[in-house]
């Protein structure tokens, strides 16, 4: 992994170590948070940004402890509201690299509204959603992404709620960058975080992860070496959508306008590569990305969408140093002289 790197304001090279605070991460042994933390703090020194320009904003939950472990500016805010704080910070300080760390409960349940609006506004903020499909810090309740039927402390007979699809929601809300990774593929995580970091605009990354204590095994089918080739598909820009052991399956657009899984190759009924959908992250129309985000078998990973439009904070750029005294005296004004007589101010505009 490339952790060497880039000049700081002091002219020295930063390494991952420079981004570790004096507090050692304290998540449960085997928690997926460790892997994501490692990937993100490995990407930071490669960004050519001085350390003091990083600000990590989190809400409440296991993942939201992240800022304490990173030696950057950090703000552990309140439940669900990290996007709001990040938005104000970015607007006040467009020079900063602002990262939101959130989870499925924090970002999608209590903070669902802010999540939508952050996506649609497209500020240059990175949003990393740690999705373990459970409330961990409050010790095991169903979250908005918990699978139907899952038994938790609040759903002892199995959850009835249809899970939310974070990526689909981000894309539907207008996210200009959307990607998915999972906690046990470091290469994928690093690639996706790097792409998110480089995107100028809102960058949403869903990281599927395991909660060893309260939801162990929830993503087993996509991480298990024996099954993952069949259950996952890796998205690559400009390449046809193929997956499976020996890459023998592909996805093409079916006649009913739904993605259709087909065998690829010489076998009977097999499709040719040219029949398959070709991944295009730059498509301004987000419907293909949206469709792929909803695939569950296989589940897609990688970058779904990356389009360039002006980021939100750029609309606020002001170059002049305005005259406040003049502003206070705008509108209809008049002067009263020492003689006590009032007269309109020459050129005072009528508001």
């Amino acid at each position: 992994m490339n952790t060497t790197g880039t000049p700081t304001s002091a002219g020295t090279k930063l390494t991952r170590k420079d981004f570790l605070s004096s507090i050692d991460p304290r998540w449960c042994a085997g928690c997926g948070c460790y892997g994501v933390f490692k990937a993100i703090t490995s990407v930071f020194p490669t960004m050519n940004i001085p350390r003091e320009k990083f600000a990590i904003i989190s809400g409440i939950g296991c993942s939201s402890r992240f800022p304490y472990y990173s030696n950057t500016y950090g703000f552990h805010t309140i439940h669900g509201r990290a996007p709001t704080v990040a938005m104000g910070l970015k607007l006040a300080r467009p020079d900063l690299s602002v990262w939101v760390i959130t989870g499925d409960g924090d970002g999608l349940s209590i903070g669902g509204n802010h999540f939508i609006h952050l996506m649609r506004r497209n500020p240059d903020i990175k949003v990393i959603l740690f999705n373990n499909q459970i409330y961990g810090l409050t010790k095991g309740q169903a979250s908005p992404t918990t699978a139907v039927g899952t038994k938790t402390k609040t759903t002892p007979y199995g959850s009835n709620d249809i899970p939310m699809q974070p990526l689909a929601m981000a894309i539907a809300s207008g996210a200009t960058f959307a990607a998915r990774a999972h906690d046990s593929d470091n290469e994928l995580l690093t690639e996706v975080m790097t792409a998110a970091a480089r995107h100028k605009g809102v960058a949403f990354v869903e990281v599927m992860m395991n909660c060893v204590i309260f939801n162990d095994g929830a993503i087993e089918s996509i991480t298990n070496k024996a099954t993952r080739a069949e259950n996952t598909i890796r998205l690559r820009q400009g390449e046809p959508l193929m997956f499976g052991t020996d890459a023998n399956k592909g996805i093409r657009m079916g006649r009913d306008h739904r993605p259709e899984i087909v065998p690829v190759g010489q076998m009977a009924g097999g499709a040719s590569k040219s029949d398959l959908m070709v991944h295009d992250i730059t498509a301004s129309d987000s419907s293909a990305a949206y469709m792929l985000s909803l695939l569950s078998s296989p589940t897609a990973f990688g970058v779904f969408r990356q389009v360039n439009v002006p980021s939100y904070e750029q609309h606020y750029e002001v170059s002049v140093d305005p005259d406040v005294d003049k502003l206070l005296r705008s509108g209809t004004t008049w002067t009263t002289g020492e003689d006590g007589q009032s007269r309109p101010v020459e050129g005072s505009k009528q508001s």
Binding site: A55, G88, A92, H114, Q341
Partner: protein
């Protein structure tokens, strides 16, 4: 510019008018009332500007329905604009009105109870149709009965006269009808010897690119004015007796909401910081956001997705080193309360402006109340003291906002400013200060790496250092978990929590070191002191002034700082045998002072969505004085 030649020039107001008697008065209260689409707010606004520019003191009170366009002609669709103008200080827009301009029967019906006996009614007779009378709930035409006998009624066919003035105009009949408010305005200008010049200038600016509309309005304005001069029913005009000349300076008239917006801008400039305001639309605070939105070069104005996001964004901006504010009303303050706890914990500067309205819940959105004091003082979980200030007049909304910003930055604390619908929408004449006249701001972005600790406090103010992202070497983390004293690390240590709770409280208490001593107005040996806070300042002063004129032993004092309270408040209050606390709530300041000082006070409480009338306060004072005269 060919269209310029077509433009009607209005005549000078006072030239050639000597035929009719002029009566001089000290003060006059006038109310313009009509349908919410009749332009009554604009008419009142113009009359106010014209009066203020003549050197009169002015206070205004718009009163409009919460429906945007309630059905025309109905009682609940009536929109009113009241103003009082006078030659000496005007304390309030007035309790009862001297002059009612009623554009339809509903406007007459709703406003008649406020009209003084022998008061003047100018009404649009054309609007008194059977249909409109029915919509207003009249079973018979009031113009035909003796209901109006005790008033001076001037009936004018305002709609028809407006049409006549615009004979040959290219405007549609509907556009013509929309000009009738300016006919009424012209007539009132004549009746009260106002100059039409400010309105004429305003029209020329406003309708620069619409010469037909400009010309029509100028003609109609002149027509109303001339009607007064020629119609035989008018024998007298009224003028304001000048008592005292205003202090030399530049003036404008300003609403409380505009003043608050300008206060934030001025404070940020004075502090040398970027201004960030994150807000969500809510009546009656939205006009602050509207005003700020016009000035994007002065501030970063962010309309958030909800009240919570609004305050969250402000806290984020404050973390980044901006002067940050959020503006709201009661329900919004409720939504923001969790975030205010965070702001208290992380000790960041923040200004929260609450333009109070009738509550609880959606309550009376367009009506005034002072019932958020408890919420401002105590409406958060945990031990969460914040600084609370209250504006005392529309123009004070500027000063109090500057003061709130100064305290927030100096003490690294959130400050809640309480305004209300009456102050926010009301307007008065404002002597515009220069930036250099404003109090000094000590701004303090911390950059020194040596010995930096996120919670190492200033000895005098107990403020922690403000080290913002981007400052090399000061990278640190803050958050809602309890902080260890000095280091700011997360701590669950029992003794540390107690210490931090006490430190946060003490920091707020220390703000009292710079609150001015109490001053009273009225009789220094008063038997009854009237103590107010917020928007009751004007009406209390008016009541006390009136009783002092009669030689009664009465005084008043006013609080702008509600947390902490002025240090000398208790000893000040001890000097008076009886104290009255009038509030537009059920006794929230009364409760606080009793709890704090173990003293007793009389209270007077009005929660009708309307400000006090001076006579209500006078009556209560009289009963406390034992009814003597």
């Amino acid at each position: 510019m060919s269209h310029k030649e077509k433009v009607t020039e209005v005549k000078s107001s006072s030239a050639g008018r000597s035929q009719k008697k002029v009566e001089e008065l000290d003060q006059i209260v006038i109310r313009f009332a009509g349908d919410s689409g009749d332009g009554m707010q604009l008419t009142g606004d113009q009359f106010t500007t014209a009066s203020a520019m003549m050197g009169d003191d002015v206070a205004t009170l718009p009163d409009y329905p919460s429906e945007i366009r309630a059905p025309a002609g109905t009682i609940f669709g009536v929109s009113g604009f009241q103003l009082r103008f006078g030659g000496s200080e005007v304390f309030t827009p007035g309790d009862t009105i001297d002059v009612l301009v009623a554009m339809n029967p509903a406007a007459l019906k709703t406003n008649l109870p406020s009209l003084k006996d022998q008061g003047i009614i100018i009404l649009n007779e054309d609007a008194f149709t059977p249909r409109n009378l029915e919509k207003a709930g009249y079973t018979s035409n009031p113009l035909e009965g003796n209901e109006l006998q005790k008033f001076k009624v001037f009936r004018a066919n305002i709609s028809k006269l407006t049409q006549n003035a615009l004979t040959g105009s290219t405007l549609s009949p509907k556009q013509v009808d929309l000009c009738k408010n300016f006919w009424a305005l012209g007539l009132t200008y004549w009746l009260f010897n106002r100059s039409m010049e400010p309105t004429s200038r305003w029209l020329k600016k406003r309708f620069q690119s619409k010469p037909e509309i400009l010309d029509a309005n100028l003609k109609v304005l002149q027509s109303g004015f001339d009607f007064g001069e020629t119609a035989e029913m008018f024998t007298t005009t009224y003028a304001i007796r000048k008592h005292e000349a205003k202090k030399a300076g530049t003036y404008r008239y300003v609403t409380g909401n505009t003043a608050a917006a300008l206060g934030l801008i001025a404070a940020s400039k004075r502090a040398g910081l970027k201004l960030f305001v994150g807000s969500y639309p809510i009546t009656p605070a939205t006009d602050i956001l509207h005003e700020l939105a016009k000035h994007k070069q002065f501030a970063t104005i962010y309309q958030a997705e909800d009240e919570i996001a609004a305050v969250g964004s402000a806290i984020g901006a404050s973390f980044g080193g901006a002067l940050a504010a959020t503006t709201t009303s009661g329900p919004g303050l409720s939504l923001k309360s969790e975030f205010l706890g965070l702001a208290c914990m992380v000790e960041l500067p923040l200004v929260i402006i609450d333009v109070q309205r009738g509550g609880p819940s959606t309550g009376l959105p367009t009506k005034t109340e002072q019932s958020d004091l408890f919420q401002a003082l105590w409406g958060r979980h945990g031990e969460c003291p914040l600084v609370v200030l209250a504006a005392s007049s529309p123009r004070d909304c500027f000063d109090i906002t500057v003061e709130a910003s100064r305290i927030a930055l100096k003490y690294m604390t959130p400050v809640i400013v309480l305004s209300d619908g009456y102050l926010g929408n009301g307007a008065e004449v404002w002597r515009i200060p220069g930036l250099k006249d404003l109090p000094e701001f000590k701004t303090m972005l911390h950059t020194n790496v040596e010995g930096f600790k996120p919670y190492l406090r200033d000895e005098t103010t107990l403020a922690r250092p403000w080290a913002v992202p981007g400052t090399p070497g000061l990278e640190h983390r803050i958050g809602g978990l309890e902080k260890e004293d000095v280091s700011g690390n997360v701590s669950h240590h029992p003794g540390n929590h107690q210490k931090m709770v006490e430190l946060r409280a003490e920091k707020v208490v220390r703000v009292a070191q710079e609150i001015p001593s109490m001053v009273s107005y009225g009789d220094p040996k008063a038997e009854v002191l009237v103590l107010g806070w917020g928007s009751t300042a004007g009406v209390i002063k008016e009541a006390v002034h009136a009783l002092c004129e009669k030689g009664l032993p009465v005084a008043c004092a006013h609080l702008r700082h509600l947390n902490p309270l002025p240090k000398d408040l208790k000893s000040f209050l001890k000097k008076y045998p009886k104290i009255l606390i009038p509030e537009n709530n059920m006794g929230q300041l009364w409760y606080r002072l009793r709890a704090e000082y173990l003293m007793d006070f009389e209270k007077l409480n009005k929660v009708q969505g309307q400000p006090f009338r001076a006579d209500e306060i006078e009556a209560k004072i009289m009963s406390m004085l034992g009814g003597r005269r």
